[in-house]
């Protein structure tokens, strides 16, 4: 499968934070959920992809080096970034009028269709919109030049469940075109469980895992057991564990193999939230 985005050995050093050898790839036609706690490096990685910051390493988008082919690549990318947008004093109509001279493929009709769908008034100043409405406007802008890749940093944050659902439907409709892909960073992991094909998990500037969602949710599991049962487990048979007042929660990479070996009865299906909590807070 052809990759639309490839990141190899991405490094970026700040005084108090470092991205260390970040590598992953996003296949064409797929949605990748990019997860991690606050300050883990999601936004820094996205900024590097967009060439907003200087970095070491190699990033290719549509097979092209992102620093060398900046203009060509950005014609085909739609972005939603956390708290970065047009000045709030202008209107959606002004935005459309500006972007028609910036993007070769800007589609004013499509933009107006999104405005209608999201119930956003084209002549109202952005500052009069609620946070949710602003996010919808940002998404409408990101989609209206027919991009091949959407890069979305927390696009559904601040939205109520109905609005989130509408937006997720739009992402799913967008991805029906197999030429298109989405990199979606989000804290709302339930949304990712619905739509993501791949999950990439970053913690403390390092990629902990990058796998298909089905592999993660189908293979990984959480064993709930007593202290005695836990102490019988071999160290290599689990990834992380956490002790709570009812006993132990143990994250295992292959729940079927584990069940076979330990004849364990209680292996719960894992959610992405469980994965994040155990991978970050759990002990080895």
């Amino acid at each position: 499968m052809q990759n639309i985005l490839e990141i190899k050995n991405l490094c970026k050093k700040y005084d108090n934070f470092e991205l260390k050898d970040v590598s992953f790839s996003l296949p064409k036609g797929a949605i990748m959920g990019f997860i991690g706690e606050n300050g883990a490096g999601k936004t820094t990685t996205i900024k590097a992809i967009l060439d907003i910051i200087k970095y070491q390493g190699e990033i290719t988008i549509f097979g092209l080096d992102n620093r060398q082919y900046d203009r060509e690549i950005k014609e085909d990318i739609g972005v939603v970034l956390d708290d970065m947008f047009f000045p709030e004093i202008i209107t959606p109509n002004d935005i459309s009028y500006s972007l028609m001279s910036i993007y070769k493929n800007w589609d004013s009709k499509l933009f107006n269709d999104y405005l209608k769908e999201f119930e956003l008034l084209p002549n109202k100043q952005i500052k009069t919109f609620s946070k949710g409405m602003r996010k919808k406007l940002e998404i409408a802008v990101a989609l209206s030049h027919h991009p091949k890749l959407l890069i979305l940093d927390e696009p559904t944050s601040g939205l109520d469940p109905i609005a989130r659902n509408e937006i997720i439907d739009i992402f799913q409709k967008y991805i029906e075109n197999e030429e298109c892909s989405i990199l979606l960073s989000s804290h709302i992991t339930t949304d990712l469980e619905h739509i993501a094909d791949y999950i990439t998990f970053i913690n403390n500037g390092q990629i902990l895992l990058s796998k298909t969602k089905d592999e993660l949710l189908d293979k990984y599991g959480i064993v709930k057991c007593s202290e005695k049962e836990f102490k019988n487990m071999a160290k290599g048979d689990y990834l992380k564990y956490r002790k709570n007042k009812y006993g132990y929660e143990v994250l295992v990479e292959d729940k079927r193999a584990f069940k076979k070996k330990y004849n364990s009865e209680v292996i719960d299906k894992m959610t992405l939230d469980d994965l994040m909590v155990l991978m970050i807070k759990g002990a080895e």
């Binding site: 907003i52 970034l81 709030e88 500006s98």
Partner: protein, 210 residues
């Protein structure tokens, strides 16, 4: 670049009523002889553009603009072009008002004088842009506001010192060879200085991280 200019014009359009009101007030004051408005309106053009920087900064537009095709380059270029256009428009308005005032007061229209005054005004206003814009791109608007005072204060202090230490008549003698060409010399100097300022601002923006 056109798209970026459109965006700046959209920001300015939102304050159009205030701008129009200021133009009218300054014009009335100029007509009544309360003040010389030849410098006010072109200088206001730079101030209006400063407010567009302010809105940009509040919504982190600069960072967003970098995600657009040729965003770094066109963002800077459009600011310079829009400001120059505004200075020119304001200078033309002031010039028309000056002619109107001369006719109304029946003092006769001295076109040469009016043109020279406004050329000086445009050059003076450009100096603010030339020094200020690279500072805005390097340090941000807040620090640039301090910068504007430092630049103006610096020019006044240096000018004062130079005039005391150096005999200005020597400089005028030295420049006397420009006698018939000094209008061209001023225009050429303004073009070179503005272009240099643009290149510096662009170079800062191209290296900037967001």
């Amino acid at each position: 670049m056109i798209g970026f200019i459109k965006k700046d014009l959209a920001v300015i359009k939102s304050n159009f009523k205030l701008i129009a009101l200021l133009i009218v007030v300054y014009s009335i004051m100029g007509f009544s002889g309360e003040m010389d408005f030849s410098f006010i309106l072109p200088f206001m053009a730079v101030m209006i553009m400063m407010s567009s920087f302010s809105y940009d900064s509040y919504n982190k537009w600069d960072a967003y603009a970098v995600t657009l095709p040729d965003g770094r380059k066109n963002g800077v270029r459009s600011k310079y072009v829009t400001t120059l256009l505004f200075i020119l428009i304001m200078a033309i308005i002031t010039m028309i008002l000056s002619i109107g005032m001369a006719i109304t007061k029946g003092v006769g229209v001295n076109m040469e004088m009016i043109l020279l005054t406004h050329l000086g005004t445009i050059f003076g206003t450009l100096l603010v842009l030339i020094f200020l814009y690279p500072i805005i791109y390097k340090f941000g608007l807040e620090r640039a506001r301090v910068g504007i005072f430092i630049v103006v204060f610096g020019i006044v202090i240096i000018g004062g010192l130079v005039s005391k230490v150096v005999d200005l008549s020597n400089i005028f003698d030295f420049l006397s060879f420009l006698e018939n060409y000094w209008v061209i010399a001023i225009i050429l100097t303004a073009v070179i200085m503005t272009y240099t300022s643009y290149r510096i601002a662009l170079s800062i923006q191209m290296k900037k991280e967001f």
